[in-house]
């Protein structure tokens, strides 16, 4: 099996790519939990004037009727006006696209952004919705029956990890 890319090596490259695209209207939102970890690392590298926004899409999921509320959700905190902004939406792994769909729906309940760009550390394919990321750390092939997720060590270091899909 191929080795997984190193999150800590992908991170500065991704930050440099984003830095070149920053406008005065740019603001960042991380999706709990992995996307929030990644965004917390990227945000200070871009020199954005607004604090980082954090979002939990639990109330916008499309599988509530089947699954219910699976875990205790966190509070979404967006400490800036969404209206007219260029938003960088940050998640750890892009897979089916359903989380991103839910996040966009939630965002529009805060206002009408000028643009939303999707930033992910890893794209593992397998899309079920017409969604693509504009900024991708790495494309990763994931074996069947496995789940790719971001882990954060006690010292704050990020790493990609494979685990058995539930």
């Amino acid at each position: 099996m191929n080795k997984l890319p190193e999150a800590e090596i992908l991170l500065p490259k991704l930050a440099a790519e984003l830095k070149a695209r920053v406008t005065p209207a740019t603001a960042m939102i991380g999706l709990y939990t992995g996307g929030a970890w990644l965004a917390e690392r990227l945000h200070p590298l871009l020199g954005l004037k607004d604090p980082l926004g954090l979002m939990d899409i639990a109330f916008y999921r499309d599988d509530y009727a089947k699954e219910g509320l699976k875990h205790d959700p966190k509070r979404t905190k967006i400490p800036f006006e969404v209206e007219g902004r260029d938003l960088l939406l940050v998640d750890d792994v892009l897979y089916t696209g359903r989380t991103v769909r839910a996040a966009m729906n939630e965002l529009f309940d805060y206002g009408r952004p000028r643009s939303i760009s999707l930033v992910v550390l890893a794209d593992r394919g397998g899309r079920q919705l017409p969604i693509a990321a504009q900024h991708v750390g790495a494309v990763v092939e994931v074996p069947k029956g496995k789940r790719l997720r971001l882990k954060r060590a006690d010292n704050g270091k990020l790493s990609l990890d494979l685990e058995d899909a539930a």
Binding site: A58, F59, Y60, Y64, G68, L69, R75, T76, E106, D109
Partner: protein, 316 residues
């Protein structure tokens, strides 16, 4: 022991009937889930699509404006459809039985029944007879329980005091007739509050209340000493001048919360009341409107707590 009628086979909350008998993990799950819903209620768009397509039936066999309204707001903010039935003045008066009423509503594709009833246990009876995908939330049954009020009180206490395990909480007034007091006592003891006190005249204390794990005080001044939280109960008008109480004025003198009595509690103590308040009977206006009163935040938190309860049960 029979299985808990509130939980499904996986131990998840299927109906909310009473705080009594719910494990600490479920109480904490509800409070934790209410927290982000409180965030939703602060937004300009105070609505999430979670329960789109679900129907919530407010089934009130006993009059209540406030509780019914907060359930209605909660359901609407979850994008559910809400149907309000004031059953007291419709089918029941025509002689229909409780279960027939529910069977008829169930045929209209209900997902959640919010039930307020004058008789203790009515929501249990309904919960035993609904279909597996239908959920019952007790919005107050007789003197027995009012779990969503108890949960919003717990949420309020946690919001202001953070840690339950070092608190002294006093519940003051007509404990005997109060389903609010009973629900709150069960919640506080389950969540590890080391000292729960009940304060009131002997005639308004249920016999054997100590068995719930509370300390009983008949002297309000002694009972308030060192309290972090003071929860005042409503003295129902119909009890005044009855056999249990000499007069509203004497009740106020002994058990009404005044600034002078509140000064005996801790300097950062909060004052709560489930509403509606009788000013000058159980609580003095300067206290009710004072800086330590969290009575109006309780109402706001109540919506988030009811959103949490509905979305948890309807998803299980």
């Amino acid at each position: 022991m029979p299985p808990n009628p509130q939980l499904n086979a996986k131990g998840e909350l299927q109906h909310l009937l009473s705080i009594e008998g719910l494990p600490r993990e479920i109480l904490t799950q509800i409070l934790d889930t209410a927290e982000p819903f409180a965030g939703v209620t602060e937004r300009e768009v105070k609505k999430v699509p979670l329960m789109r397509g679900k129907s919530v039936f407010n089934l009130f066999f006993e009059a209540s404006t406030r509780t019914r309204t907060t359930f209605e707001i909660a359901a609407k903010r979850l994008s559910a459809d809400v149907i309000n039935l004031n059953v007291a003045v419709s089918s029941q008066s025509k002689g229909e039985s409780l279960l027939d009423t529910v069977a008829n509503l169930s045929a209209m594709q209900a997902d959640v029944f919010v039930v307020r009833h004058g008789s203790a246990g009515a929501p249990y009876l309904i919960a035993r007879h609904v279909k597996p995908h239908e959920h019952v939330i007790n919005a107050g049954d007789g003197r027995h329980a009012h779990p969503t009020q108890g949960l919003l009180d717990l949420y309020t206490i946690r919001h202001y005091k953070k840690d339950f395990t070092r608190l002294t909480v006093a519940i003051v007034g007509d404990v005997l007739h109060s389903r609010v007091a009973r629900s709150l006592i069960h919640g506080l003891t389950t969540l590890g509050v080391p000292e729960v006190r009940v304060i009131g005249p002997q005639t308004l204390m249920p016999a054997g209340v100590e068995s719930l794990g509370v300390r009983v005080f008949h002297d309000m001044r002694a009972g308030l000493k060192g309290c972090d939280v003071v929860m005042m109960l409503r003295l129902q008008n119909e009890r005044m001048n009855g056999p249990l109480l000499p007069s509203a004025a004497e009740f106020f003198r002994n058990y009404g919360l005044t600034a002078e009595k509140l000064a005996l509690a801790r300097a950062d103590a909060i004052v709560m009341h489930p509403g509606p308040m009788n000013r000058g009977v159980e609580i003095d206006s300067p206290v009710a409107d004072g800086p330590r009163s969290v009575i109006l935040p309780q109402v706001t938190f109540g919506i988030a707590v009811r959103m949490a309860v509905m979305s948890i049960v309807a998803g299980n």
